[in-house]
């Protein structure tokens, strides 16, 4: 294979990987953020305690989180096919990635929101704030640094998962690493692919940390 071909392939793979990672993380937050909010406010010390709802969400999340991603990927193939029309390729991989991301994200959101000092929530309640106001202007606004750290962790984890999806023809860098490195013993290409993944991870982490620090007003 010509060097320029390898470069083109890696370039396309990087694009696919980024698409998968960002799309799944975004979709993961569309569902995971509200679920995390529900977990926070329905817990016994939340602003609308509902032990039954909390327990149900808690169990569902624990179950989905305990399924290894590779198994989940295969397990939900019929569902993926139903949603996307096929069970392989970049777009199809977004489905299992999102499903894996939601419970993980919900837990991280819960963790971040529960870090918010209960006294501040109480102060807002004493001012007559409604539940929506408290969720948006107190919980989410006050926890934004921690939430952003969570986004960075989520992106990193999904990046790892997306590479795993290469096993079933998921597209992206993982796919290239497995096809060339594992099936064709082209260790060179595999190593380059891994290197690109490492760089991606570093950049994501660096950006995430930078942004969350910039938005944090708790440091003088």
């Amino acid at each position: 294979m010509e060097t320029s071909d390898i470069f083109r392939m890696l370039w396309a793979g990087t694009g696919e990987t980024l698409l998968m990672v960002f799309a799944s993380t975004a979709l993961g937050y569309v569902i995971g953020l509200p679920v995390g909010v529900l977990l926070t406010i329905s817990d016994t010390d939340g602003i609308c305690p509902h032990p039954l709802l909390y327990k149900i969400l808690d169990i569902i999340i624990n179950i989905t989180r305990s399924i290894p991603f590779l198994i989940l990927l295969i397990l939900i193939q019929p569902f993926t096919k139903f949603v996307v029309g096929k069970s392989y390729g970049t777009v199809a991989t977004i489905v299992p990635l999102t499903i894996a991301a939601v419970p993980f994200i919900a837990r991280m959101v819960e963790g971040s929101l529960k870090e918010v000092d209960h006294g501040v929530v109480e102060a807002a309640l004493s001012m007559g704030a409604g539940k929506m106001t408290i969720v948006i202007k107190v919980l989410i606004a006050e926890a934004r640094t921690s939430l952003l750290v969570g986004v960075t962790i989520a992106l990193g984890t999904i990046l790892g998962y997306s590479a795993m999806a290469g096993i079933v023809g998921g597209g992206g860098l993982g796919d290239i690493a497995i096809r060339y490195g594992y099936y064709r013993y082209e260790t060179g290409i595999m190593l380059i692919t891994v290197l690109v993944l490492v760089i991606l991870m570093q950049v994501l982490q660096w950006l995430g940390t930078l942004l969350s620090k910039k938005l944090d007003r708790r440091r003088g």
Binding site: D117, G119, V120, E122, A123, A124, L125, S126, M127, G128, A129, G130, T133, K137, V138, A141, E142, R144, T145, L215, D216, R217, R218, R219, G220
Partner: protein, 264 residues
């Protein structure tokens, strides 16, 4: 008619092992415009009592009537509106750490649906009242404890309240700062005619600004009356023990001062 009226108020906390009777059949009334103190040792039920006044804590039995309205009969929406006229300040200030001082003061006005422009203008006025207008753009982390409590007071004024509840508002502050905060509360009480209910475990706070005081002991209302009456001629053991504690505290302060000056 009293602005705050509590009748037969009881609050029991259920835990797995036992029941805690935080308040036991407490009845009292607070008049409009007065500074009313509730004093007691920790665990006496003071915090529970003050939290029952805006239903942050829902009483097990009894009634809380504020401005003629029984809070327990209000709908959620009505209660939210009522809470907007009952301000509260806290021991640990409870400011929004990610908002600057000005936006913190704007928060209650945001809740009340006041336009941003008006809110900012008013917020600056309230900051002027508490003497912190030059800190409008600062973040809470950059302020001292006393300054944070001033911001909290400006924030409470922003909801234009008839009543301010103070939950150990000076307990995290040093004596000097405590005095300035109490002065400020006194000024607010005078200028705006706001009724102030403050709970504390420190007798000097009550001595300094309260008109009347109630002594709580293990959830019971032991004594109530003017500060001179209660502290000058305590009738119950609870009140007497508080005064003894105060005297030993004063003695200790005196000894410390002497030690500092090298007289001992």
């Amino acid at each position: 008619m009293s602005i705050i009226q509590i009748e037969h108020l009881s609050k029991t906390f259920d835990s797995k092992e036992n029941q805690v009777h935080a308040l036991n059949d407490v009845s009292l009334s607070i008049e409009e415009g007065e500074i009313f103190g509730v004093i007691g040792l920790s665990g006496a039920g003071k915090s529970t009592l003050v939290r029952c006044l805006n239903l942050l804590e829902v009483p097990t039995s009894g009634t809380v009537t504020i401005g003629g309205k029984n809070l327990l009969e209000l709908s959620k929406e009505e209660l939210r509106r009522e809470r907007q006229s009952i301000g509260m300040i806290f021991q640990h200030f409870n400011l929004l750490m990610q908002r600057n001082v000005l936006d913190n003061v704007c928060f209650p006005m945001e809740i009340a649906g006041i336009s941003k422009k008006t809110a900012r203008k008013k917020a600056l006025e309230y900051l002027r009242t508490v003497g912190l207008e030059e800190k409008a753009k600062a973040y809470p982390v950059q302020l001292s404890g006393g300054q944070k409590q001033r911001v909290a007071i400006a924030r409470v004024l922003a909801s234009n309240p008839g009543i301010i509840l103070c939950d150990e508002a000076t307990s995290a502050l040093d004596p000097q700062t405590t005095r300035t905060i109490l002065e400020l509360l006194k000024k607010i009480n005078k200028e705006y005619g706001i009724t102030i209910v403050l709970i504390t475990h420190e007798m000097r706070v009550v001595e300094e600004i309260c008109d009347r005081v109630a002594v709580l002991y293990h959830g019971h209302l032991e004594e109530i009356g003017s500060v001179q009456e209660v502290f000058g001629n305590p009738k119950t053991r609870a009140a007497k023990s508080l005064i003894l504690a105060r005297q030993s505290e004063q003695l200790e302060e005196e000894i410390n001062r002497e030690v500092e000056y090298g007289n001992v």
